[in-house]
Structure formats: C-alpha cells, structure tokens
C-alpha cells in the first residue's frame, strides 16, 4: 500500500555498497564466465554423448544398424546446434559485462546473481513478442531472411569442432581437409540473408540499409580471404588441423610470430653473410603481424562489428535491414551476429595464435593429454584442446569488445574507401611478399 512513514529518516536504511573494492568486478566477471562455460560445455557434451553413444547403443540393442550409424554421424550437427545458441547467449552477456567493466559501470546485475541470466531473460522477452509481418512484405522472403542469415553461421562451426576436440569420437567425420575453404564459403551465404531482409521489408530505408550492409560485407570479404590465402601459402595447407598442428611446441612456433622462424633474427647482428637470414626472419615477422591485424580488421568489418557497424547502428537503427523484424526473427539476427564473431575469432586463433596447442613445449602438452586420457572416468583428452581454443578465442573477443568500447564508428564512405583503397592493395602486396619469402626459404 502506501510507503511507510518511517522511510522519512533515510539515514536509518542500511546502505549496502554494491562493490566493496575495485578488483571485485573482474573477479565477479570471471566467476560468471566460468559458470557459463560449465553450462555450455555440459550442454554440448550431454548432447553429443546422447547422440553418439546412448541412442546408437539403444538402436544396436534392437539391431537397427543403419539407424545407429545415422545417429552417430548426426552427432556433430546436434552438438553444433546446442553449442552455438548457448555460446551466443553467453557472448551477449559477456559483451555487456566487459563493456561495463571498461566504462566504469556495473553491467546487468539484476536478473540472477550478478546478472548471469540476463540473456535468458532477453530471449524469453523476444520469444513472447508479437510476430508482425508488414502487409506489403514478401511473406516467403521475409520469413526466410533470418534463417538464411543464421543457418550458415551455425554450420560454419563444424570444421572448427573437429580441430577443437582433436578428432574425438564422432567429430572425426568433420575433419575436412578443406576446412578453411568450407568456412569461408559458408560465411558468404548470410550476405544473401541481409539483402533479402532489406528487400522483403518493403521499407525504402530498410532496402537501402540492406544494400549498404551487403556491400560492406562483400567488400570486406575480399581482404579477409586474401589474408587467409597468405596464411595458407605460408603454412602450406588448407586443413585446419594441419595448420594448427604446425604450431606445436611453444609460443615461438605460433604463426603470428613468424611461424617458427623467429630465432633466425639473431643472425642479424654480426653483420655478414648470415644477416640476410636475419632479415628474412624480420620481414616475415612484420608480414605475419600485419596479416594478423588485417585479418582481424576485415573480419570485424565482415561481421558488422564496431567500428564498422553502420548498417545496424543503434542510433541509426531506423534505416537498418532489421527494422521490421520482431520477436524471434530479430533474435536470430542478433544471435547470428555474435556467432559469426565467435567463428571469426576461433579462425583467427587457429590461423595465428597457435590453434589448440598450449604455448609450452610439446612434451608438457603430451603429458597433460596423457593424463587426461587415462582418467578413471574415460578418455577426456578432448578437454584440453577445446579449452585452449576457447580461451584464445575469448581473448580475441575481449579485444573486440575493448575496441567497441573505445572507437567511434566509421562513416559509410570512409568504410568503403578503407577497404578498397587500403586493405585490398595491402593484402595483395602481402600475398606477393609471402610467396617470395616462402620460395626463398633458407
């Protein structure tokens, strides 16, 4: 009913200060992250086990061999379908909390302890919203646009799953020998979803917004693919697993640090015949680092991430492609954006940051793997590579959120000229330089 009169003396209400000391914010965030990681891992592992062990065993008992095999090979798909939404759910919360930490705020902290159920609340809210289709919108295309945007980003994760779990169990079938090609090809399909979303909204601003975002996506795909080609030339294979295995054995073998040739820099100093080799290593180091930066830039632009997110800018959303989408369709666009970011960070960490291997020597890693493989509960050796890959990918995601907290967004013409006039020539020059370096390898 009415507020109690004793509230007048507000001095007497207990003052509970929310965060008592500075670093507690970071610690609370890590607790949140670990908790969500447990949920993501638990869900994925349960789903995979269910489809790879429990159900096929059930079928085998009834002697339905074909069904058992089909279910076994469907397991990676189910794993991806469980992993991606769970991961995107965590990513949204992750971004909001890290943005808050960087901008001296406390992020969502009401729903669930320290806000860890925030995205669940968002998802429930979006589910309950009314699904409005504009009267003159093209119904089929309007319904298809979010699906075309979300589906391929889910599928693109499958080769990464094989690398992440070191080909454990049912994921052996996902170890494509053309892994990178598959991911890049499948990532080009969502662009159609953007254009369809803009067109089917029957809204002239959405149409222009959709066309602009599609133009941005394809014009940043070119430098992204060209930098990946440089890395392929450098490492000599397209398979994700081979690229990742080429970086075993310590942080000096990582591709960002000149792919194992870094010690050769020491040849530079006693000037003489050996210094050319030092120069080779130096140039390679510079090139690799530049490739990493260029890949991150063009990949962030591909995913519509700040500072390149004009098509879906929060303040200019009225002219974006996802204006007319409500409820679950909007949720699909939203989740697909974060999933694409995650895939790009995974790919960057496989290509440049050492993949699934620890930055220590090979013996340490083999020992840990052996330890995990012989636990009394079974073979857990898939745990180490996936945790390492997740950590590296989330480190890159942290950098991406950090960039979001810092930079304003680029105007559209600045964006396009940055890609066509700067990144594409630079990446072409890089391919040439890398090719020369690889052929001259001492």
């Amino acid at each position: 009913m009415s507020v109690s009169f004793l509230n007048l003396l507000d001095k007497f209400r207990p003052h509970r200060v929310y965060i008592p000391s500075p670093l507690v914010g970071i610690v609370q965030f890590f607790v949140l992250a670990i908790f969500w990681f447990l949920i993501i891992y638990g869900a994925t592992v349960t789903a995979t086990l269910l489809f790879a062990k429990v159900i096929p065993d059930l079928f085998l008992e009834f002697r339905l061999f074909n069904l058992a095999q089909v279910t076994y090979y469907l397991a990676p798909l189910i794993a991806v379908m469980v992993l991606i939404p769970a991961n995107a759910t965590f990513l949204v919360l992750n971004e909001r909390k890290i943005l808050a930490l960087l901008t001296v705020r406390s992020g969502p902290n009401r729903v669930g302890p320290n806000g860890f159920l925030q995205t669940v609340a968002d998802a429930v809210k979006l589910l309950f919203k009314e699904d409005i289709i504009p009267k003159s919108a093209d119904k089929l295309l309007f319904n298809l646009a979010p699906i075309i945007f979300f589906g391929p980003t889910t599928i693109a994760f499958i080769p990464i799953l094989a690398t992440a779990t070191n080909n454990a169990g049912p994921f052996l079938s996902c170890d494509l020998s053309i892994g990178i090609l598959f991911i890049l090809a499948v990532s080009s399909i969502p662009v159609i979803g953007l254009v369809l979303g803009g067109w089917a909204s029957s809204n002239k601003y959405s149409l222009i917004g959709g066309l602009r975002s599609a133009a941005q996506a394809i014009s940043y795909e070119i430098p992204m693919v060209l930098t990946v080609i440089s890395m392929i030339v450098l490492t000599g294979s397209i398979s994700l697993r081979e690229i990742s295995d080429g970086q075993i054995g310590g942080i000096l073998n990582w591709n960002i640090l000149a792919a194992g040739e870094l010690p050769l820099i020491l040849n530079l100093f006693p000037l003489g015949k050996g210094s050319l080799i030092g120069l080779y290593a130096l140039v390679l180091l510079g090139v690799c680092f530049m490739l990493f930066l260029m890949y991150l830039l063009s990949a962030c632009a591909e995913v519509n991430r700040i500072p390149f997110d004009l098509p879906e800018a929060e303040s200019e959303l009225v002219s974006g492609y996802n204006t007319e989408f409500t409820g679950m369709k909007f949720a699909l666009f939203f989740l697909a954006e974060y999933t694409a970011l995650f895939i790009i960070c995974c790919l960057a960490s496989i290509l440049f940051l050492g993949g699934v291997h620890l930055p220590t020597s090979y013996e340490t890693e083999k020992n840990i793997l052996l330890l995990l493989a012989t636990t009394p509960f079974g073979d857990f050796s898939w745990l180490l590579p996936s945790i390492v890959l997740m950590l590296k990918a989330y480190f890159l995601i942290f950098i991406s959120v950090w960039v979001r907290a810092t930079l304003p967004r680029l105007r559209y013409d600045q964006l396009m000229s940055f890609s066509w006039k700067f990144l594409i020539p630079l990446s072409l020059v890089n391919i040439f330089v890398v090719a020369v370096l690889v052929s001259v390898k001492p």
Partner: protein, 177 residues
C-alpha cells in the same frame, strides 16, 4: 602513407590503453534500491508538517499563507473555528504539487518543510492526497529535520503576563503628535 598508417595505429593503441586503465575501477553506478542516495538538506521532495522538537506541539498556526501562495492550489488549510491559530485539518495533494518550495519559504513558523523522501508511489491518485495525520512528523523526526536543514528552533512562547502588570508599564510612544 605508411607514416599515416603507423600514426593512426599508434593513436588507436593509445586510446585503447586509456580505456583499459579503467578496467578494475569501482563502478560509478549506484544500484538504487540497495543504496539510498544521500541527498542535500535543501532538496525539494515530499512535504511534511513539523512539530516543536522540544515540546511536541504542532507548529502550524493556520495562517493560510501556504495555501495562498501555492501555484497549483494543492493545499487546503482548515483552521479550528473557535480558537484562532490552531489547525484542524490540512490536506496536501502530492499529485498536484510541483515541489516548488514556495510554501516552505512563506511559512512563518517553519512548520511545513520539504523532506528528502521521494518514494511516494501509490496505486491510485486519491491516495496521494495526504491529510494531517500522514503529513505530521513525530517529535524525533522533527528534531532530525531541524538539525539537518539548520532551521532555527522555534522560540519559546512568551509567558502570559497578568493584565495589571501590563498596564503598569506604559510603553513610551513618541510618535506623531
């Protein structure tokens, strides 16, 4: 152009380092329902009638100055019909009130004051009309507010002098002859 690139990258890196320096800081957000904001003494929130902090008698003398000056006409003062200077009923509609503080400025006895309480939500508008029971503060609360706002305490009423002594002292009136 290479120089511009390196300059650009360096400036971006400097900006990002500046942002990173804030990462462990205590959040500035005050999570409101748990933490009550510390307001200043002269914030204008809910109105209340005070009583004398020492004797406990009601300070309102039913002069109706607040009713006259209120721009929203949200105050209704009903004095005691027999005795002058004793208040019978006092209605203040917080739905109409615009919290300008004019009534608190004109009150001759500093009876009506602005408190620091702003949590006045009700479920219907009629509940926002406060009568004298809800408006009057207790003696402790009045004392708190007199100290908090540094209002001069009401002077003690002069002792009633018997009528003979009053006429014995003739006041010196040197006026217009």
């Amino acid at each position: 152009m290479i120089k511009k690139t390196i300059e650009g990258l360096y400036n971006i890196a400097k900006g990002m380092a500046t942002v990173l320096k804030h990462i462990g800081r205590n959040p500035i957000t005050s999570s409101y329902p748990d933490v009550v904001p510390e307001l200043y003494p002269n914030t204008r929130h809910r109105l209340a009638l005070t009583v004398n902090p020492d004797t406990g008698e009601h300070l309102c003398i039913a002069c109706k100055q607040c009713e006259r000056i209120c721009p929203d006409t949200c105050i209704t003062v009903i004095g005691d019909p027999e005795k002058k200077g004793v208040i019978k009923d006092f209605y203040l509609d917080h739905g109409l009130c615009m919290f300008c503080g004019l009534c608190t400025e004109v009150c001759p006895t500093n009876c009506i004051i602005n408190t620091v309480d702003f949590e006045m939500s009700e479920y219907n508008r009629e509940d926002l009309i406060y009568d004298i029971e809800r408006l009057t503060l207790s003696q402790d609360q009045s004392r708190f507010y007199f100290d908090f706002k540094e209002i001069p305490k009401p002077k003690p009423k002069p002792v009633k002098v018997p009528a003979s002594a009053a006429t014995a002292v003739k006041p010196e009136v040197t006026g217009i002859k």
